[in-house]
């Protein structure tokens, strides 16, 4: 255990947090040594992180890594077994109602009432957030319009498509104009179009100044939306940094050159070696040639070299490291330490 620098927030919320603890103008969430166990399973095993105010923090990890547990604790749905979590200056255990006033939650499984219409869902939440009837109604209509649900407002949410339901869920989490928003795998199970719509919304929200905690299992999503990332596995943070920093950690980018005729693979490989690319390999099954360019210039040279051979290429693709590879790399490093 490292030394704990964060204590509970004071008994009154207008009392400034002790130095080094709580949250301030720049940080919205401070999590210190958070532990949560379910029986023998340590779902969270000493997580510490901070979320900068008004930014998107991506929490990346495979299924069962502890992402949802972390979000549920930050959303006051679960009590931690150890450690502290302070959201917008309020301790999630000591001041849950104040935390609830500042947060919005969009779960992995949309938490809307399927038997109520879209409008009724939003109106109910408005009332539960103590909006006067008129305001609750106006806010519901406003959000329905913003999320392109006006036409479906009177229909039951159970009849919505996956994308519409997720949009309604997002709208539901925004009724109270939260300063901190948790998006727990907001695009899991969505088709690409619905996913893009959610992505656009997240960007829009980030621009509006909300702090967003986004969990995802997709590297691509984390890269697209988050400025800062933490990677968690087995309840521990195994890496943190910007997407670029993490990519460096994961290793070089692999390019794959696929000749139109598999028998040309040797010629392509030879050209790539001439251009100076590293780890040139031929996949015998497909005839594709993979190699790692040192930089952009070398990649350009490689293309020129292949063009010089006159061999027709069917495709050139950059292999993004899959999440599996990310984890193999990162957990491998963790074990060496």
């Amino acid at each position: 255990m490292t030394t704990t620098t964060t204590t509970r927030t004071g008994p009154r919320d207008d009392v400034p947090a002790p130095p080094g603890g709580g949250t301030d103008a720049d940080t919205s969430i401070v999590v210190t040594d958070l532990v949560k166990t379910f029986g023998d399973n340590r779902a969270l095993d000493g997580i510490s992180l901070t979320a900068p105010r008004g930014r998107v923090l991506g929490v990346l990890g495979p299924n069962g890594a502890g992402k949802t547990t972390l979000v549920r604790i930050l959303a006051t749905l679960l009590r931690p077994d150890g450690g502290t979590a302070v959201v917008d200056g309020h301790d999630v255990v000591g001041r849950p109602q104040l935390v609830r006033r500042t947060i919005g939650l969009t779960g992995q499984y949309a938490s809307v009432d399927e038997k109520l219409s879209g409008r009724e869902n939003l109106y109910m939440i408005g009332r539960l957030l103590d909006l006067p009837k008129k305001d609750a109604r106006a806010r519901a209509d406003q959000l329905l319009e913003r999320f392109n649900l006006t036409d479906a407002a009177g229909r039951r949410a159970g009849q919505y498509s996956g994308g519409m339901r997720r949009r309604l869920d997002l709208a539901a989490s925004l009724v109270g104009r939260p300063r901190v928003l948790y998006l727990d795998e907001p695009t899991t199970g969505l088709d690409p179009r619905a996913r893009n719509a959610v992505w656009d919304e997240v960007r829009e929200l980030a621009r509006s100044g909300a702090t967003i905690v986004l969990t995802t299992q997709y590297m691509e999503e984390a890269e697209a939306l988050a400025e800062n990332l933490v990677v968690i596995d087995h309840g521990k943070i195994i890496a943190r940094g910007t997407p670029d920093e993490l990519k460096e950690l994961i290793g070089a980018r692999v390019q794959t050159f696929r000749p139109a005729r598999p028998q040309d693979a040797e010629a392509v490989a030879a050209a790539l070696r001439t251009a100076g690319l590293a780890e040139v390999r031929i996949d015998d099954a497909t005839g594709a040639v993979s190699a790692i360019p040192a930089d952009d210039a070398q990649l350009t040279a490689a293309l020129a070299a292949v063009a010089g051979t006159g061999v027709p290429l069917a495709s050139v693709t950059e292999l993004r490291p899959s999440l599996d590879e990310v984890f193999l790399t990162l957990t491998g490093k963790g074990a060496d330490r």
Partner: protein, 283 residues
């Protein structure tokens, strides 16, 4: 509920200005008016659910109708000598039975609700925790009122006659509603604790059957064996049924009304806080 595990270790440098430990519920307090608003919003939700899916009314509303017809025409002659006389006897009993059934519906309902995604939403809102349970109960009371009206309407059509005044009749209905409200809290505990709706339903029947039949609900108690009569005397159902009977068909009711009220208040005072606590902890 203890928050002590989240305190910084005593030897850590930042631990010096440790704040006095605040109760977990310090920020949980919701003003009464806000709580009423929350109960209203949740009740509204349940009423919309009923409106959107009227079929769920069927069992609750039809059950007492079926019981009424079956009991009167199957047992009526055998128990009271004539179906008409038995009608006068059994209708108040059926009324109380609807209250018990409504109560157990509450338990099964809350068990189903807990698996609904919207519960996560409720828990992440700064609302009164008890509002979810109370709202559910209030909507169940609305359902019960409809059910009681249908039962009494049908009974009257079949020959049941009030021998008291309107005030007494309304008091009988109020007593039934109050009893159902109290039982609802009790069944809520079963519903929150239960593994699934089926087990809650099973357990509810197991609990309510002896209480219903081991009372003056369906038959006069004087022919029952002594041990059963002893049970009948302490069974709150007996007092509620006797009170309703006297309030609708005549007789002294003050004693039974007071005992019934004591049971209603007692059950609420004990069961409601337990149910709310269990709901809070069930995450």
């Amino acid at each position: 509920m203890s928050g002590t595990t989240t305190l910084a270790p005593a030897d850590s440098p930042a631990a010096a200005p440790i704040a006095p430990r605040i109760p977990d519920d310090a920020s949980q307090h919701v003003p009464f008016r806000a709580m009423l608003r929350h109960v209203g919003a949740v009740t509204r939700r349940y009423l919309i659910l009923i409106k959107n899916d009227p079929e769920q009314l069927m069992d609750v509303v039809l059950m007492p109708v079926i019981f009424l017809v079956l009991f009167v025409y199957v047992f009526g002659g055998a128990i009271s000598g004539s179906t008409h006389q038995y009608m006068q006897f059994v209708v108040p009993g059926i009324l109380v039975q609807t209250a018990i059934m409504a109560g157990s519906t509450t338990g099964v309902g809350i068990n189903t609700d807990l698996t609904n995604g919207v519960m996560d939403r409720f828990r992440s809102l700064p609302m009164a925790r008890s509002a979810v349970l109370t709202g559910r109960l209030v909507s169940d009371m609305c359902r019960l009122l409809l059910c009681a009206a249908i039962t009494l309407g049908l009974a009257t059509a079949l020959g049941f006659r009030f021998h008291t005044n309107v005030g007494a009749g309304l008091l009988a209905v109020a007593l039934v509603m109050g009893f159902s409200f109290a039982l609802g809290w009790l069944f809520m505990i079963v519903g929150i604790k239960g593994k699934n709706p089926q087990s809650v339903q099973g357990l509810s029947i197991l609990i309510t059957m002896p209480l219903q039949f081991g009372s003056s609900m369906f038959a006069p108690t004087n022919s029952m064996p002594g041990w059963l009569q002893a049970f009948v005397k302490v069974n709150p159902m007996t007092h509620i049924v006797n009170a309703c009977r006297a309030l609708t068909t005549g007789g002294a009711y003050a004693h039974d009304v007071w005992i019934s009220l004591a049971w209603i208040v007692g059950i609420i005072v004990v069961a409601a806080p337990i149910a709310v606590r269990m709901y809070r902890k069930k995450i």
